[in-house]
């Protein structure tokens, strides 16, 4: 406290320094006089007495100096002086200043933008307490790569596990639910156990969490609502607690409000959280039991690997209890950190983007260092003078660092503005390209990162030139001859060329891959197709019969619209996205045994109405597609993709063959074979596919009728093929559906949009890397130009001599351009080596192009070489056209 007060006074002391100095001079004078008088009284002569007094004081000037240093903050004063000096220098040389700041702004701005995007993926702590110890625990199998548990597993593990101090579950996914009241709303609900929020370290903003007795079947019906719902729907009513709301037709008492911005560890944002309320006894007996997502908090000091080792025997034991033998091979235990669970699939992308933008920043810093060095050359004499006048080496370095810090802070300020702009472009470019992109922005954390980055950058480009000690000869020499000193600048430029070649070849690889992806045939039409997702509120459409009636009515209504070619329903859409999926081993040719479990991988299954193939223009290569009359047939019929047909019936005609899902279930008759469709995502391999017919029977329209071979409960998608533009048809489709039931939410999207969204991430990666490569090459080339122009200017006299001695223009051109060529060759070779070494990392991002694709490297190297050569030819040309007489006259 006292020190702070003193610091403050010293800070204030820097203002109005003169008056205080006079004050102290007076005090000192009175001290000396009193001492002198004492001396005279003791018998000394006045002169001797004064001399003695000054000696005892230790020198008047030294005392004043010590007093001054204590009165203010000397280092701060020095700093201010340096700043003033630097600003004066910048004002004298605005072109230099603006160039440096602009270069830095691009480097720092791009880095800030990318960092703000990848921060949440890679670094920022997750919004839970002890987030580094929270893990996702569960089973994985070929159709579900994200951990899940089943009732029996959960309770068994919860009771016997040792590595975790908390262990709780939420439901598998958000589901649509309705808030029924005067002002109804369709919401997203999630079920969770009483221990779930405490596990995450989340306590409600208002009210309390579920009690254990509320998390039981037939317990009191309670609910937690989200902050957003409380704010928007209930106007932040403080009386919300204990109010009863009606969720899906059954009342629940609101006991709390979730904190602002709460998101589930599955990254979803629920509106309402209800108790999972599992019946423990039943779950322990029943198989499969309720599926859920389980999370746990590791005990301190327990690693994920240790936890996995400890859980493995438990897993094996539970598996033997609950899973039938043949299925076991397909199930594995998985424990992952929560961060990996949330963002594993984009971490590589994020690292690559971050690394490339840091490379751009490095190039920018090198460029600025080059500029500073060039400026240092022209200021060499000034520095030499200062040094000769007694400025210490450290003092000069401090001055140089102050300048660098000022420049980089200005660059950071400009960079933050640029980053905001870049983020907006990113969002336009690929809104779903990378998770959290919509939430990325410059906040305090990002801004501090930027400032830190700028200072680091400043230290880098400030120290390099400052290390060159002004030589004494600079004082005497009338012109500098510092050929030796360009070595550092040259190596910087060669390094820039190398790094930009790495960026360039990476960008070319991604561009090629992106082009391959965009130009590939999807095996279906995407133009002129509209899709509509109609989510029926479960409590009003509570039976499959009601659902079917609605969907069939909607189908007929949309069919009546003009310009409609085909209307179909499917539970999912190629080329990517969710589909329920099944294992190859789940299918058997009738009369033959199933293939062994765990072999054959997974296949795509889709439940479609007959018009599906027409709507998407998928050709039928054998037999026929589904016909309208099949919808009322008692027989189960399927269409196979060519890939699946060839696998199940190699060399035989599949038409009329029968397939079984369960050994004792109804057989499906194959009526046709459809051409393969891109169905595993844009970058992935095609999978074999089976189409089940959605018949006009209620089991085929949602709900899980026990024992029957039915479609999954997924919301059917309406697919509309139109000769008009899909956008024009959209309002008609909406009004047709609204006429049947105006409260049903309808989401529409053209198929083109759906496919384009799938390409968002590759587009994002490609665009960013291309932009970085462009910036990198541009800066490297500018740096190269700078060095060559500098060298040419330095050798003007020499050129004059050579020309008088008979050198032709071509000789001079060759001499100067040769300098540039050397740098290009050295940088290029280094860059090629580095690219080849790092390209492996890109492998999983590439589609149909190898990471060592020779064409790419030739193209990138050629491109860079041509641009770089052009940059050296300009100053070389200028040097060659010098008038020898003028050159000789120059000093």
């Amino acid at each position: 406290m006292r020190q702070l007060r003193a610091l403050w006074i010293r800070l204030c002391g820097m203002i109005g320094a003169h008056r205080d100095q006079d004050d102290f001079a007076a005090e000192l004078e009175s001290h000396v006089q009193m001492h002198t008088e004492d001396g005279i009284r003791a018998g000394l002569t006045p002169a001797e007495a004064r001399r003695q007094a000054l000696i005892r004081l230790g020198g008047a000037e030294q005392t004043r100096q010590a007093y001054r240093e204590r009165r203010t903050l000397p280092w701060l004063e020095n700093l201010l002086r340096d700043v003033r000096y630097a600003l004066r220098g910048f004002r004298r040389n605005p072109v230099f200043t603006i160039t440096v700041i602009a270069t830095l702004a691009v480097g720092i701005g791009a880095t800030t933008a990318v960092f703000s995007v990848v921060d949440r993926i890679l670094f920022r702590s997750l919004p839970y307490a002890h987030d580094d110890r929270i893990v996702s625990v569960g089973l994985v199998q070929s159709l579900e790569r994200e951990e899940f548990t089943l009732g029996g597993f959960f309770f068994d593990w919860r009771d016997s596990q040792k590595p975790f101090e908390a262990f709780a579950s939420q439901g598998t996914m958000l589901h649509a639910c309705d808030l029924v009241e005067a002002n109804p709303a369709q919401l997203n609900c999630i079920h969770a156990q009483a221990g779930f929020l405490p596990l995450l370290g989340i306590s409600p903003a208002l009210g309390r969490n579920f009690l254990p007795e509320e998390d039981r079947p037939n317990g009191p019906r309670v609910a937690l609502i989200s902050y957003g719902l409380w704010q928007d729907h209930f106007n932040r009513d403080a009386g919300i607690l204990n109010r009863t709301i009606d969720v899906d037709g059954s009342p629940a008492r609101v006991i709390g409000v979730l904190p602002k911005g709460f998101e589930l560890p599955t990254l979803q944002v629920p509106d309402v959280m209800l108790p999972l309320a599992l019946n423990e006894g039943l779950e322990r007996k029943g198989m499969p039991g309720t599926p859920m997502r389980t999370f746990a908090r590791l005990r301190t000091g327990v690693s994920i690997a240790q936890a996995r080792a400890e859980m493995e025997p438990l897993f094996v034991h539970t598996q033997e209890t609950f899973l039938p033998g043949p299925l076991r091979k397909d199930f594995h235990l998985s424990i992952r950190s929560l961060r990996d669970r949330e963002t594993k699939d984009v971490q590589l992308s994020a690292w690559i983007l971050l690394a490339s933008v840091l490379a751009v920043l490095l190039i920018a810093c090198a460029n600025v260092a080059g500029l500073m060095m060039a400026r240092g050359e022209s200021r060499e004499r000034e520095l030499a003078v200062r040094s000769a006048l007694g400025a210490s080496r450290g003092r000069l370095i401090r001055q140089a660092l102050t300048e660098a810090a000022l420049l980089s802070l200005a660059g950071a300020a400009a960079g933050i503005i640029l980053a905001e702009g870049l983020l907006r472009v990113f969002l336009k470019l690929a809104p779903t390209g990378i998770p959290f992109l919509t939430r990325a922005g410059v906040d305090l954390r990002i801004a501090s990162f930027t400032v830190l980055l700028a200072l680091l950058c400043g230290a880098l480009f400030g120290i390099l030139p400052a290390l060159q000690k002004p030589r004494a000869v600079a004082l005497a020499a009338r012109s500098t001859n510092s050929r030796r000193r360009t070595v550092l600048r040259r190596s910087l430029v060669a390094g820039q060329i190398a790094v930009s070649l790495v960026l360039l070849s990476g960008a070319v690889l991604l561009l090629k891959s992106f082009q391959n992806m965009e130009e590939q045939s999807l095996g279906m039409q995407t133009h002129g197709v509209l899709t509509a997702r109609i989510a029926l509120p479960g409590f009003r459409y509570d039976t499959s019969e009601k659902k079917m009636a609605f969907y069939l009515q909607a189908e007929a209504a949309v069919r009546r619209l003009p310009g409609i070619r085909a209307v179909a329903f499917s539970d999912s859409l190629p080329p990517g996205g969710w589909n329920s999926g099944m294992r190859y081993a789940d299918l058997a040719v009738a009369g033959k045994p199933h293939p062994p479990q765990g072999t054959g991988g997974s296949i795509v299954d889709r439940g479609v109405t007959p018009d599906y193939f027409r709507a998407l223009n998928i050709p039928i290569v054998r037999g026929r597609g589904f016909a309208e009359e099949d919808r009322s047939s008692g027989e189960y019929r399927v269409v196979l993709s060519r890939l699946l047909a060839a696998r199940m019936f190699p060399g035989a005609d599949p038409i009329g063959q029968r397939i079984q899902r369960n050994p004792d279930g109804m057989p499906f008759t194959v009526v046709g074979v459809a051409e393969n469709v891109k169905n595993g995502g844009l970058r992935e391999e095609d999978e074999p596919e089976i189409y089940f017919l959605r018949r006009n029977v209620q089991q085929d329209w949602g709900g899980r009728a026990p024992g029957a071979e039915v479609m999954s409960g997924a919301v059917p998608l309406m697919i509309i093929d139109t000769v008009l533009s899909p956008k024009a048809v959209t309002p008609w489709v909406r009004s047709q559906i609204a006429e049947i039931d105006s409260t049903v939410p309808v989401e529409t999207e053209t198929l083109n949009q759906t496919v384009s969204k799938l390409a968002d991430r590759p587009r994002f990666e490609t665009a960013l890397l291309s932009f970085f490569a462009f910036c990198g090459v541009l800066m490297a080339v500018i740096g190269l130009y700078g060095v060559i122009a500098f060298v040419a200017a330095q050798r003007t006299q020499e050129i004059g001599v050579r020309m008088t001695l008979g050198a032709t223009k071509l000789d001079i051109l060759r001499l100067i351009a040769g300098e540039g060529l050397r740098l290009i060759v050295v940088g290029g070779i280094l860059g090629l080596g580095a690219s080849l070494a790092t390209a492996r990392l890109l492998k999983s991002l590439l589609y149909n192009v190898g990471p060592h694709d020779p064409g790419t490297y030739v193209a990138a190297a050629l491109l860079l070489a041509v641009v770089a050569l052009a940059a050296t030819l300009i100053p070389a040309q200028r040097a060659a056209s010098i008038d020898p007489m003028q050159a000789l006259r120059m000093e």
């Binding site: 003193a6 005090e27 009175s30 001290h31 004081l57 230790g58 010590a66 240093e69 204590r70």
Partner: protein, 113 residues
């Protein structure tokens, strides 16, 4: 013991504070002489170091200063203790006593255990 010793680091502030406490307001020169006297002229003070030390105490709020007239009718700056300064004297004095007591034990002739 003829030689005069220099002032140990950090003790000057305490000496000045303590002197101001017992003597009341003093100007710099008087304070310096008084400190030397109190030490029985064993201390040789470099007067120049006193002023930055006084400034530091003032910045920390333990003393305050104002211009006045000395016993010889000379204009001089007088320093006096503040409330915080009085507390500080007690606190540091206690600390010093403890330190010296500990040191004394180390320096005492070894006793038979």
């Amino acid at each position: 013991m003829g030689e005069k010793s220099d002032v140990w680091q950090g003790t000057l502030a305490l000496m000045a504070l303590r002197t101001l406490e017992t003597m009341g307001p003093l100007h710099g020169y008087g304070l310096a002489r008084r400190i030397e006297q109190t030490s029985g002229d064993l201390l040789q003070l470099n007067y120049g170091t006193l002023y930055p030390a006084l400034l530091k105490l003032e910045q920390e709020g333990f003393i305050r200063s104002k211009w006045g007239v000395s016993e010889n009718n000379r204009r001089a700056k007088f320093y006096e203790l503040t409330k915080a300064g009085q507390r500080q004297v007690k606190k540091t004095a206690a600390e010093w006593e403890q330190t010296t007591a500990i040191l004394a034990r180390f320096l005492a002739p070894a006793e038979e255990a």
